[in-house]
């Protein structure tokens, strides 16, 4: 087997550009899915049944279907069904944000519910409004508890962005797979792709391990 690694080096620009898109997809998705998840988590505890029902339906729909289907659906079905046509990268972002938002809402909900009512009462007894109790007492504690879980979601998200390559968004996967089929250098490009994902993902995984240790709950 003769390997030609120079072809990888020659195409480093395209690969790095793909890696850049992978990073921005993950960052943008998480930036939007955190507030979305928190909002949904709060609404799921709403007094109004309709709101609870709608938000629950949203979460269960996105948690129970594969992400790749959601991306395909947004790209091929949504334009027909809803008459809403977006470019590939926007479609990809919507798919990712709604998917990760659903997962984040479950994480936040578990965290918020884990704070005992005594803490809520203590804030109320000081004269805080329900919102002030949420902001200064309940949410900061819940966030600390779920930070490791959110970090794990981030790691999955970072890798799952590769699925958007199916609708021709030029992320690292798409770039690598395109180069593979153009050059027929399957071994080289799949290896390069693996190395790049690993080089980006491994430090993050280590950081998550650190977060798990750092934010172990002590009371």
């Amino acid at each position: 087997m003769n390997l030609d690694w120079s072809v990888v080096w020659e195409n480093r620009g395209a690969l790095l550009e793909g890696a850049g898109i992978t990073i921005s997809l993950a960052v943008t998705t998480m930036a939007a899915a955190l507030p979305l998840g928190l909002g949904i988590a709060v609404l799921r505890e709403s007094r109004w049944r309709v709101i609870r029902l709608l938000t629950t339906a949203y979460v269960e729909m996105f948690r129970s279907t594969p992400l790749i289907l959601q991306i395909y659906w947004a790209f091929y079905v949504m334009p027909v069904a809803l008459g809403l046509r977006l470019d590939a990268i926007t479609t990809a972002l919507f798919g990712l944000i709604f998917n990760i938002g659903a997962y984040n809402s479950e994480t936040f909900r578990a965290g918020l519910r884990s704070i005992r009512t005594g803490q809520h009462n203590a804030g109320m007894a000081l004269g805080m409004s329900p919102f002030q109790v949420f902001r200064t007492v309940v949410f900061p504690q819940a966030l600390r508890r779920v930070l490791p879980a959110l970090a794990s979601t981030w790691i999955s998200l970072f890798k799952d962005t590769s699925l958007v390559s199916v609708i021709a968004v030029g992320d690292l996967s798409y770039a690598s797979l395109q180069l593979r089929s153009q050059t027929f250098r399957v071994f080289e490009f799949l290896t390069a792709m693996a190395v790049l994902y690993w080089a980006m993902g491994y430090p993050q995984a280590k950081l998550v391990d650190h977060l798990h240790r750092r934010f172990k709950v002590t009371e």
């Binding site: 005594g118 007894a125 000081l126 004269g127 805080m128 409004s129 900061p140 504690q141 002590t218």
Partner: protein, 254 residues
């Protein structure tokens, strides 16, 4: 016989009038009427499940009640535009401390003034420092609750309640969750507050404290007040048979 109640005025600071609370078929409070005057220490004693804590929590609107009224400085608390405005002026100390675990002792004490009163940070911090000193924990400003003993946590919780400059402090069994060796330090702080004429309502099983610090003792059983009076009378010559039974159980238990 008229019983002298030194702090009595025309208008009680906190006034329970025929307060009833029912959950389902259970009656937690069966028409409780009680006056608490400014500067007074009222201890509520009685067997577990007699409604003492429920009464206290109703006064702070942490629990709704079914009928009757609770007046704070003559104002019906359930008619307040915002419950928070009443709670600001009524401090509460919980059995389980409920310090905020993500804040240091100092931050816990500052949390009320900073969030609710929008006090300037420098001022809030200075006041919190003074309060920590007052509860004997000046050296623990930067400690997180998890690093403090139960007694220390409860003293911080008292300082946190005091930071709002409340008109009255409610204590819900403040020493019941403590190791025996730390009960004394909390009671000592409370006794000091009593000496400073802080108005307090204390639900407690500490008969020694009630005897020493209370101006007025209230005995509750089955959601009702069975007897009330100055400690000398309640502990010396109780008139109610239920009080006598309760006190004899407490004595044999200690």
């Amino acid at each position: 016989m008229t019983i002298d109640r030194a702090h009595a005025t025309a208008l009680p600071l906190l006034w329970f009038r025929e307060v009833e609370k029912h959950y389902g078929g259970f009656t937690a409070l069966a028409g409780v009427s009680l006056q608490v005057y400014r500067g007074e220490v009222v201890c509520i004693i009685g067997p577990s499940g007699s409604g003492k804590s429920t009464l206290l929590r109703c006064a702070n609107l942490l629990e709704p009640f079914s009928s009757g009224a609770i007046l704070f400085e003559g104002q019906d608390i359930t008619r307040a535009a915002r419950p928070a405005s009443i709670r600001q002026r009524i401090g509460m100390v919980f059995q389980s401390f409920e310090l905020f675990p993500h804040m240091t002792a100092l931050q816990n004490i500052m949390s009320g003034p900073l969030t609710v009163k929008r006090t300037k940070r420098v001022q809030a911090e200075a006041e919190a420092g003074v309060l920590l000193d007052r509860v004997g924990l000046a050296g623990n400003a930067q400690s997180y609750p998890s690093a403090l003993s139960g007694g220390q946590q409860q003293r911080v919780a008292i300082a946190r309640a005091l930071a709002m400059h409340p008109d009255i402090l409610l204590f819900d069994e403040p020493t019941s969750a403590l190791d025996p060796e730390t009960v004394g330090e909390v009671l000592a702080v409370m006794q000091k507050l009593a000496a400073d004429d802080v108005t307090m309502v204390v639900v407690t099983h500490e008969m020694g404290f009630a005897r020493r610090a209370a101006d007025w003792v209230v005995v509750m059983d089955h959601g009702q007040i069975v007897e009330e009076g100055p400690p000398a009378l309640i502990f010396g010559s109780p008139t109610s048979a239920r009080t006598r039974t309760f006190l004899s159980h407490m004595h044999s238990a200690h």
